[in-house]
Symmetry: C2
Subunit: 503 residues, 2 copies
């Protein structure tokens, strides 16, 4: 990840991650930082004691290579901060300023704080560096989504399901803020809409948050698994006629099985017409926002009220790393804050607007931002783009290889929108059979599970399969690792045919 | 953590973690495993293809030293499994069986699975080792709680706030299962009860899950911060008289500020009388269950319906590691399952009851179990007990040092129940003043923030403070790291006096 070669290959190309990545010092000027960004790092508590108005290290101007020993053998300041924090010899203040990422915050820094390991990311004083990294990275992600100046709200959460749950909570708070204090009985019957192909977390959120899973209406899709806007509008009208309140639409950008992208612009038109919250679940598809070639599939995303985007999926960041991004500033805190006095004291010696914890449904949070920030610094936006494009190229290679190959049938026509390639392998014994017969369907249904079981047994490879609606079990190949090769694809197809030939 | 010295110091003393930890082989017999436990590791799919009925590695019989190279220089099987998984040369099947903990599951194992990094712990086939580790560890924790045979349910979650949220969801599902499908309108107005000193996550859960924060009734506490049972009963009767439904009581075992333990037995009597769910929030206090000397503070915990216990707090496991433990088996899945066909196919080649993901509100989960399992194996139950006892001894040392010292006033009388020591430091200039005067209170309110700010500035140490109810800002010292020394306590008191002398 951090090899010199990597640094030389990828430049920083956009915004605060756009710096020239040469190893000289000239690339480290903060010239492209806005005044607002700079203020993030200097003291904004101008009415407070000047002793505390120190200038913080400008992490927007750091490179991943700052984690490596310098050429002269000395450590860089960031490296020293991150890797030496938590020793007994370092002072508490240094440790706090460093926002230690180690597990060894021995002694005093633990006093007055219940955790004993790595930092809980809920107040600026416990994890100042990570709070700032998170703010900058969320802003960058919002800029990529296309919200003006990257303004808005957001937080990293433990996974896409929780991010999607946040979106439902915020939507409810936006339209029926009284539910926070009074409960669901203070609102009319609220209805959520999502694709029949969408991730089950929307339905799960509906059940958990007190809407009821029956009030999550599933939308019909076209043959490619994309929501049909007319079906959405018809179902909204139906709900309204029953006297219920249509609140929220989830548009999936990269569905789990087909990799389908719902038409965001058409859905946004309907949401605007009926004054509804539009959420885009880009947990799986979000990475495509980094690709100039593929981001058109997200066309209209800037009209969404909230977006889920999991860098831990397509972008290869280690688990967990999921963000919920929100267009309206301050609404997450409004929705979730309980103002716990013991954590969020207003008389602290710094700007407490950095204490981001109270807008989460968690108390302490795992520090998910650091690995993402580091990877972004190391690969650059261009590196992520290359990663995404490579994966989509590979899936196109697989698609091209099998779409007209004997013994294969695609689950849907056309080039997949994401890297999901869905297909049946038809063993020779089934090829002559009537496709609509019960016997054929029953036999085909067992092919993918059988081949997968043999693959696991022989230990060569493993693939996913599932049914979908009326469709019997089919293979679903998903490529998210750009280290895969065309020869791997060839091998996989050979294996399927070797193992499935005699079924 | 894994030094030989450690292994020799601590034996395994309870249940599956109770084995003799000598370095010879005789300690590795599986003799103490119940038949049921053994079945966990052999094939229980007796009606399935015999090819898949292999005997899995018995991880209940592994030691942390199995991660170290063996004496003859060869790797142990577990070590090899954990550290070599994910290389391109290892077969997919090996990788799957190993349940790789690395970030480098290259190539084929990624195909058909949307994540690209370390394993998502949601199906047995993706993370079999971790699923089994989690099952065994949760069972062990339930045994320690005192539920018969350790039976029940549970899951690791991203923190105590989410664990507490689970408890509220399960309680609602237990008494009003129709809410899952129909929403909160299918139930009467439901009321939750928790201490005014409890963690704010109960109130947050009430708001998020659609109860409304006003339907979270705060219970009065005695001078030590413990719930007054009579107040609970009076408030239940009040709620019933209004026609609402009292659903759930949270008893805190180790409150955030005072470290107080609510009287579980008396609260359990009331919950039984009114047919309510009893949850024990032992997020902070849970570690004391490991101590023969201190676990009496949890007296009655076996009567709880659910328990939150965060090994990442008092027990020193790196973040996150929080468990929600439930007495009734199967209720988590009943509450949360949505039966996503693409993940949880019933025609898989193994017992799908190991696919624990659908009982979570998350989809993929970070693997929090491994570090805890490893630490338990390394330290042993006795090691955790020593850790806990040492921290409580240190806090008693602090308490004894200051309770009669000039310039100090304790926030509450008596030895603290947990390691929280709460006190005011009264600078000399305030010592003669009338304690109830407005001037005195205003001045004292500023002392702790000022001293803390100076500590941060001079970089020597950092402590927590907060107000509580009518009480002005006081210091709260919490010791969770047994590496602290009595001399550190002495230094802290010296620092407070040095910095606070002239205030």
């Amino acid at each position: 990840l951090l090899s010199k070669k990597n640094f030389l290959q990828h430049g920083w190309v956009m915004g605060f991650l756009q710096k020239n990545n040469s190893l000289g010092e000239e690339g480290r000027l903060a010239g492209s930082l806005s005044e607002r960004q700079k203020n993030l790092f200097s003291c904004v508590n101008s009415d407070r004691d000047a002793r505390f108005c120190r200038t913080e290290t400008d992490f927007s101007n750091m490179f991943a290579r700052d984690l490596l020993p310098a050429k002269n053998g000395e450590e860089s300041p960031l490296s020293r901060s991150l890797w030496t924090a938590g020793t007994r010899s370092s002072t508490a203040c240094e440790q706090v300023i460093r926002g230690s990422s180690t597990n060894s915050l021995l002694g005093w820094t633990s006093l007055g704080w219940l955790g004993s390991g790595s930092p809980l990311q809920f107040t600026y004083e416990i994890a100042p560096v990570f709070v700032l990294m998170e703010q900058l990275t969320l802003k960058k992600m919002r800029e990529i989504i296309g919200w003006p100046s990257g303004e808005g709200d957001g937080i990293f959460s433990p996974g896409g399901a929780i991010s999607n749950m946040y979106s439902v909570m915020i939507a409810r708070y936006k339209y029926f803020p009284e539910v926070k204090a009074k409960g669901m009985s203070a609102a009319p019957r609220l209805v959520l809409f999502t694709s029949e192909h969408s991730h089950y977390s929307i339905k799960k959120a509906g059940a958990a948050l007190g809407f009821g899973s029956e009030n999550v209406v599933l939308l019909s899709t076209d043959e490619r698994g994309r929501v049909i806007p007319a079906d959405l509008e018809a179902k909204i009208l139906d709900v309204k006629q029953k006297g219920y309140h249509p609140l929220f639409v989830n548009a999936t950008a990269g569905s789990t099985v087909y990799g389908a992208f719902d038409p965001i612009n058409e859905i946004a038109d309907i949401c605007e017409k009926y004054n509804m919250w539009l959420h885009v679940d880009g947990a799986w598809g979000g990475g495509l926002l980094m690709s100039r070639k593929h981001r058109h599939k997200f066309s209209g995303v800037e009209r969404a009220n909230s977006v889920t985007w999991n860098p831990h999926k397509m972008m290869g960041v280690p688990l967990q790393c999921s963000a919920i991004l929100v267009r309206e500033k301050g609404i997450l805190a409004g929705c979730n804050s309980m103002c716990a006095g013991y954590l969020f004291q207003p008389d602290k010696q710094y700007d407490v607007s950095y204490d981001t914890g109270d807008k989460a449904i968690q108390c302490g949070r795992h520090v998910d931002i650091f690995k993402f920030w580091l990877m972004w610094k190391a690969k650059g936006t261009i590196g992520f783009e290359q990663h995404i494009d490579k994966c989509l190229d590979l899936s196109q290679y697989l698609y091209d290889k099998i779409r007209n190959r004997e013994g294969y049938e695609m689950v849907f026509d056309g080039v997949p929108q994401h890297t999901n390639v869905c297909f049946w392998y038809i063993p020779p014994s089934l090829r002559g059979m009537e496709h609509n017969s019960k016997e054929y369907r029953e036999k085909l249904h067992k092919v993918a599970p059988n081949i997968k079981a043999m693959m696991m047994e022989s230990g060569t490879t493993m693939v996913g399969y599932q049914p979908q609606g009326q469709k019997v079990n089919f293979f679903r190949m998903v490529i998210s690792n750009p280290a895969a090769l065309q020869s791997d694809i060839d091998f996989l197809i050979d294996e399927i045919e070797r193992l499935g030939r005699d079924l």
